[in-house]
Symmetry: C2
Amino acid sequence: MTKRQNIFYAQSGGVTAVINASACGVLETAAKHKKAIGRVYAGRNGIIGALTEDLIDTSRETKQAISALRYTPAGAFGSCRYKLKGLNESRAQYERLIEVFEAHNIGYFLYNGGGDSADTCLKVSQLSKNMGFPIQAIHIPKTVDNDLPITDNCPGFGSVAKYIAISTREASFDVASMAKTSTKVFVLEVMGRHAGWIAAAGGMAADSDNDIPILILFPEVPFERRRFMAAVKQKVKIHGYCSVVVSEGLRDRQGGFLSDQGLHDAFGHAQLGGVASVISTMVKDDLGLKYHYAVADYLQRSARHIASLTDVSQAYAVGQAAVELALRGKNSIMPSIVRTSNKPYRWRIGEAKLSRVANREKMMPASFITRDGFGITQRCRTYLEPLMKGEDYPPYRNGLPRYVRLKNTAVPKKLKTPFAL
Amino acid sequence: MTKRQNIFYAQSGGVTAVINASACGVLETAAKHKKAIGRVYAGRNGIIGALTEDLIDTSRETKQAISALRYTPAGAFGSCRYKLKGLNESRAQYERLIEVFEAHNIGYFLYNGGGDSADTCLKVSQLSKNMGFPIQAIHIPKTVDNDLPITDNCPGFGSVAKYIAISTREASFDVASMAKTSTKVFVLEVMGRHAGWIAAAGGMAADSDNDIPILILFPEVPFERRRFMAAVKQKVKIHGYCSVVVSEGLRDRQGGFLSDQGLHDAFGHAQLGGVASVISTMVKDDLGLKYHYAVADYLQRSARHIASLTDVSQAYAVGQAAVELALRGKNSIMPSIVRTSNKPYRWRIGEAKLSRVANREKMMPASFITRDGFGITQRCRTYLEPLMKGEDYPPYRNGLPRYVRLKNTAVPKKLKTPFAL
């Protein structure tokens, strides 16, 4: 490098409780390398910010505000669901990116997201080779789905896992209290359209000190109504109640989503039922048991109030590593989390080639699911436990967490032409 | 009192994150008065435990276990939904209660619950007068619905309020991040079939530091679809997104529940939609906006991990006060919470006659709801804020809260006849 270059950083895809901790890692680390790095420009709403030259000048934020990102959930700069097309299909997009990067002296592209975002990052990383524009693209892993390959786990997942395990334990205590005369089955719907990592975390609610009857419905295991009902019936017989953790991506033997039950309201309009309500109604119909159900939805992935300390630390570390890798001249790479020991849990940052990360999903290993398909094995517990470990409470004022809102001051535009997405 | 008498304590109705803190208050206070009080027998599953002579000997628990009740959610002895009939309708029930109380030397009846339970407690308190059996009945207030009269607020409510306010803030940060290309409206369904106290708490997510667009749908305000949609549209126009907190008890102008939309599945079976999914579908139909919804259900009332310190302290205090009132010879009474100052928040324990508590619901005052019907006023904020204040984290092990499970050893039965409920 002959001169100081700026970093472009952006957040992509579904946000998490700790993606801002990665942003904090990027910003605080960049600030330590003022000789090599100029400013960090954040894309407003991910890659869209780059395409539309809508950049945020992070140097306008106070040190305190940057540091508060560590405990603030969701995406402070705005995220997006937007996938770049291939170079051949949409050359104009890539030319525009180069134009924007050149205009703002951007030499580093740090993209913080999941599988789709890794694909975007991979494409940008090829700009040097394919279009002769020197840029280093580093992907910063993030996804509650925990489905990126190579890395032992994904920042964002540990906190959702903790939230779902705690919520399942707490709600199970509740149902146990009510079961004598009221609710006997509690159903909790969790995220995970393809992989059952989050659903698996519900299984952690039970342990040697907490004999809680939990049935997990994984997207990896085709739903068989009769077998499931027999299992519920047995749990209720033994314990008096039963908790069910169901993945939103649960499918039947034909591969159809359980949530898609062709519901219609009184006027014939199609209605989205949600898999929890579908499963609950089946329990009522087949077993005549009173149920309650909850849908965790965004609550689970934004629950920074009970984030996992491991998760926060790792989210920060991958942000930090991304800057360090950039300074070491790396391109087309993702800092990964490498587990070096289970007990005591130890991890370090590794490196994964983006070409091996993009567009690949890591499913739950079969060895993590019990033979009956409704539970998690000891191997799964050994894997999950350290990821959920430790509390990292945000500061509170008047009973509520003090999360930061950035100023998000725009960088003055330098290009004359707008860009239509 | 001529001799030491035993206490009967039981938990009734929907449980909360802090009802066990009241139990803790009862048990630890009783332990300090060994000269006057013998043992504390807990009813297994509320009044059912008394009727069926299914008593739990709390003296078999360790001091540590009793002390852990302070931070353990739900009902440690089991709760019930069971209302005693009037004395004239069901004299046998009352005769049975007397039989059980006599057999176990029970002189104090402490019942921990909401409005229905206050009614049960009132009926028991009349046993002395009506049936010549000396017993002192004290009601210990508990309900997430916050709808008991006289008391300034109800133990259990502050923690739900805190949970809903935090969840609404966190999920709103999430939606704000996603709104550019994805979800624009987030709907959170909360408890409160008759009174909108819990829904009101969602409004606390926004404050002078957090300009979050929130619309609240109260059960007190009849739902008008067109007016609501206009409000959503405006919020989205200004902020790019909107959060909606809807009470499960939302009704239309004709008094019908919004959740009862006559949903049917592909086979013609009736389905319970849940008001969040109904409102969300309307938003999609009328405004074409992408939505997400969550249903907090039991998660909200069991979320001990983020209980309010004020709430825990008050729950303990009413348990303690119940024992002290009993020792002072009181009957047919409920320890209440009296607010003596807003800033700084100060409260003390008062006394309310049970006849003035039972079967009365306290609705949200009109002055707490904004004129458009979608928000909370400053008066409401002043009321809610101290109730949600302070954190009281439980201890953790391996990433999960260490809640206690009691041994719940049965007291040997002394009666020969069983009792059919």
